[in-house]
């Protein structure tokens, strides 16, 4: 619990003594107070715990749609007559239902494909939460000035939302890595410090992944598909050993302010454990369209304009400096590496396992904002 003196609610006890203007100002300060509390390092964990407790409490309850009100019992009727009486009461209703169903069958040839796909996707999302750690081969393709620029790496997905994205030669120290260790996000480049933050978007502006950071974990991407995409099961070219889904961005879906979601996502799911075996996200919009270039620097991100202990010049070349405008993402591809099982040991998802001990660690929340005006404003993400 925070030991912060909140704006005093005392005026609420005095009837009519405080004008509407004062109440509004008090409301504003209370909202600011509540918002500032979310900055605390443990705030996210406390919130997660509160959600988990509440969700745990509803686990034993049936889904709302499955609940039915108990029927009143007519105690005056002898028990042996009840089944017949119930049948008699239900007969007209059964007849009407049968006629209605027959008519509906004439009008509707098949059940909604979207509804079936949505149910299947729910099952995949649900199964994903129970799956063990996995490793995906990641390929990012961006539109370069002359030809597509391709970057390859791996994404390790661990328990409770942990993940590590590593770029660089396999089995060697990565030249850039980004991850979540269960408490905070972290990022580092070939040189310079490791930067940690509770808000991944603060780190997104530091690395070349830029706005793509929010799309790099398959599990999270699937949940986003559920919200903003029309998903169908592809029947034109069914996968050999599973189900292939095609998700198209829904018209009128909310624009996420800090990354341009892909226009189309296709993915395949294994039939046995429902693990996503491959996924490809594609951006179809032509360069120059309003959706493109919706980069971090234009999105008013937290941290984007915040002066901090900025990266040093040597680090700048790797993580934050000399950036050019972000290249448009074109394609993002994940392929499950089944022959590279991960232990799922939580320590693997901490940054310490991926660099030498000499690295400085900068905590973005704990490092107080720089007192002087920075010499250089944060620039857009660097070109891959």
């Amino acid at each position: 619990m925070m030991r912060v003196p909140p704006p005093d609610l005392g005026p609420l006890d005095a009837a009519g003594a405080t004008g509407g203007d004062a109440l509004e100002r008090l409301a504003d300060e209370r909202i600011v107070h509540a918002a500032l509390q979310t900055l605390a390092p443990g705030a996210r964990l406390r919130l997660d715990r509160a959600v988990q407790l509440a969700m745990g409490a509803i686990d034993g309850e049936p889904a709302p749609a499955a609940r039915r009100r108990p029927r009143p019992v007519d105690d005056a009727r002898p028990d042996r007559h009840r089944p017949f009486a119930a049948l008699l009461r239900l007969a007209p209703m059964l007849l009407i239902t049968a006629v209605f169903l027959a008519m509906a069958q004439l009008l509707v040839e098949t059940p909604s494909a979207e509804a079936a796909a949505a149910r299947s996707l729910d099952a995949v999302v649900s199964a994903t939460q129970r799956l063990g750690p996995r490793r995906y081969l990641l390929t990012i393709e961006r539109e370069g000035p002359l030809q597509p620029i391709v970057r390859r790496g791996t994404v390790d997905v661990g328990p409770e939302g942990r993940f590590v994205v590593r770029f660089g030669p396999p089995n060697r120290a990565p030249i850039e890595a980004f991850g979540y260790d269960g408490e905070a996000y972290w990022i580092f480049g070939a040189r310079g410090p490791v930067r940690r933050s509770l808000d991944e978007r603060v780190l997104a502006v530091r690395g070349e992944l830029g706005e793509l950071t929010s799309l790099l974990v398959v599990d999270r991407l699937l949940r986003r598909l559920r919200q903003d995409y029309d998903v169908v099961i592809a029947d034109d070219a069914p996968a050999r050993d599973g189900t292939r889904f095609v998700a198209t961005r829904r018209a009128g879906a909310r624009e996420r302010p800090w990354h341009p979601g892909p226009d189309r996502v296709t993915f395949e799911v294994a039939p046995d454990d429902r693990v996503v075996t491959s996924l490809e996200a594609t951006w179809l919009s032509a360069p120059g369209s309003p959706r493109h270039g919706q980069g971090l620097q234009r999105a008013g991100l937290p941290g984007a304009g915040l002066p901090r202990q900025g990266p040093t010049d040597s680090e700048g070349a790797e993580l934050a400096g000399d950036r050019q405008p972000a290249l448009h993402p074109k394609r993002l591809r994940f392929e499950l590496l089944r022959n590279e099982p991960l232990s799922g040991e939580p320590g693997w998802f901490g940054h310490q396992r991926h660099h030498d001990d000499r690295r400085e660690v900068v905590d973005e929340e704990h490092a107080p904002p720089r007192l002087r005006t920075p010499r250089r404003l944060p620039s857009p993400p660097r070109v891959i």
Binding site: M2, R3, V4, P5, P6, P7, L12, D13, A14, A15, T18, G20, D21, E24, R25, L26, A27, D28, E29, R30, I31, V32, A34, A35, L36, T38, L39, A40, P41, G42, L47, A50, V51, A54, A57, I58, D59, E61, A63, P64, A65, R119, D122, A123, S126, R223, R226, Q227, R254, R256, P257, L301, P302, G303, G305, L306, E365, H366, P368, P369
Partner: protein, 177 residues
């Protein structure tokens, strides 16, 4: 049905930060805030079949939480005289915040960090210690080499300045004279 539960949890997680902030705006007692939060989630699940899908989820969830909070405060004899009036003012502000782009409360209040950066050094250091590092005002005063009262006033002024900054950016509404 697990799928329904999963979808519901996703929805709740998306709104959880905002709901918690809403409750904290109204009550100082963290125990009541957490209890109202949990009860609200449970009540929402139980009455999910009554939710009008053509309307936004956030205000509906906050309405349920508001009812729970009032019940809790009343049962403990801590209902303030003008809380209902104050709640309407707060709810109107959250409705405005909800119209801003972003999935979570933090995304919608992204400008707060920019406002923080614009604070005078002393106020920003006080806010950093008290909120980001969760020190009480006395410990913050020791760390800053100031007396307790000065730190308390700095925090108070900083909150006022941040509210003013958010109003200037159109994130909070101007007071109605």
């Amino acid at each position: 049905m697990p799928a329904d539960r999963t979808a519901f949890e996703i929805l709740i997680r998306e709104h959880s930060e905002m709901l918690m902030a809403y409750l904290r705006s109204l009550v100082d007692d963290e125990e009541i805030v957490e209890e109202a939060f949990q009860q609200a989630v449970i009540d929402t699940w139980r009455s999910l079949d009554q939710f009008d899908r053509s309307r936004p989820f956030g205000p509906w969830l906050r309405g349920i939480a508001r009812h729970r909070m009032l019940v809790l405060l009343r049962s403990r004899g801590r209902l303030r005289r003008r809380l209902a009036e104050f709640e309407r003012v707060v709810a109107a502000r959250f409705a405005l915040l909800e119209q801003r782009s972003g999935d979570t409360f933090a995304e919608r209040l992204a400008a707060l960090r920019e406002c923080l950066a614009a604070l005078p050094d002393g106020q920003r250091d006080a806010i950093d210690l008290v909120y980001a590092r969760e020190r009480d005002t006395r410990a913050a005063a020791t760390a800053l080499g100031l007396d307790w009262e000065t730190v308390r006033k700095r925090v108070q002024r900083a909150r006022g300045a941040l509210a003013e900054c958010l109003r200037a950016r159109g994130i909070l509404p101007e007071p109605t004279a």
